[in-house]
Symmetry: C2
Subunit: 212 residues, 2 copies
């Protein structure tokens, strides 16, 4: 009997961070390296950009369909950003968790609060912090040709977002992407061995104790 | 500011397993590879063996001194085994945890139950299982020239001990020592990033938000 055969419930990993702290890069690196984790594709009412593929980048839906999803509790969390609606479809996440596959989502603290109520036992939440505001500023400046004013608005928003670290299970200060990825992977490995997730363990130990 | 400078409280890692499942080997491998974790040295009333060093292998104490340690609550847990007393001294563990160093102990489920009451927040408990009774039997036979009867008594005792897996935070099925060591190390890395242990984090985030 191999360890892989002990039935395990999947987990929902949430990586949140103030913008510029690295959650999007870390999420991408993680799914590239780990075959058992896939990204949760959000539903949105905003129009697709030229490069975006429906079902891969987002599930593009009408405002009416989005309202229906909310009413029918088909979303685990949802929010409005600049007049557009975003949400996490419940079905694909529940299907993955039931079959022992993990899901990662890079939503913000507001979405995480909603998830925490709905998938409590399955949720593993990680908050990523920048090592300093100077590093955050240089990352925000590097990735966009924004005016100084826009960068400063983002810095102020980031400082606000940071105040939500106490709502997360784990906190990582992102000095170095590879090091931080290693920490996220260790969290995944550890959480996959949490007793509550190993739903096949009682049966396994009973077989062992019976001499198996 | 480096991650190492964020104040962290140490943790007490307990590795338990039925005899023959690998906890002692894993504990030794772990402390050889990780400079931030040291083993908890037990106090005992039994006589030292020729190869044993006082203070390294055990703290050898008289029965009267052991009673005094119990009475003065100087032990985090204690037990009697074949007429000898064994216990975990509180002082060295508390000192290590306060200064952000981790401690590992390979006590059994009875000791873990006592620890759980006394160091709840600091305790990380891992239960190691053999992949099968056949593997357990061959490990028990390999390491000692015991009679078949003694081996079978140990197997029965092991089967009893296995029933305590639901009292642990994590469970690892030990198919392969290196793989299992990797899992234990991942658990350590993850637990070192748990929000509750990062006692310096509030101050760090406050400095960040103030523009640091």
């Amino acid at each position: 009997m191999s360890a892989a055969k002990i039935g395990r419930r999947g987990l929902l990993l949430v990586l949140s961070s103030p913008s510029g702290a690295g959650k999007t890069t870390l999420t991408r690196m993680l799914i590239e390296r780990d075959p058992n984790i896939s990204i949760s594709v959000s539903a949105t009412t905003r129009a697709p950009r030229a490069s975006e593929v429906d079902g891969r980048d987002y599930l593009f839906v009408s405002a009416a369909r989005f309202e229906e999803m909310v009413a029918k509790r088909e979303l685990l969390e949802h929010a409005s950003v600049f007049g557009n609606r975003y949400g996490t479809p419940r079905g694909p996440v529940e299907q993955a968790l039931k079959s022992g596959r993990d899901v990662v989502s890079d939503i913000d603290w507001q979405g995480t609060q909603q998830l925490a109520e709905r998938v409590r036992q399955d949720l593993v939440s990680v908050f990523i912090l920048p090592p300093s505001m100077a590093v955050l500023e240089s990352r925000l400046k590097r990735r966009a040709q924004d005016t100084d004013e826009v960068v400063h608005q983002r810095m102020a928003k980031s400082a606000d977002e940071m105040s939500h670290w106490p709502e997360y299970d784990y906190v990582i200060v992102n000095h170095d992407l590879d090091e931080s990825l290693g920490h996220v992977q260790a969290i995944l490995t550890a959480e996959r061995h949490r007793r509550e997730r190993l739903v096949g363990l009682a049966a396994f130990v009973n077989r062992l104790r019976a001499g198996g």
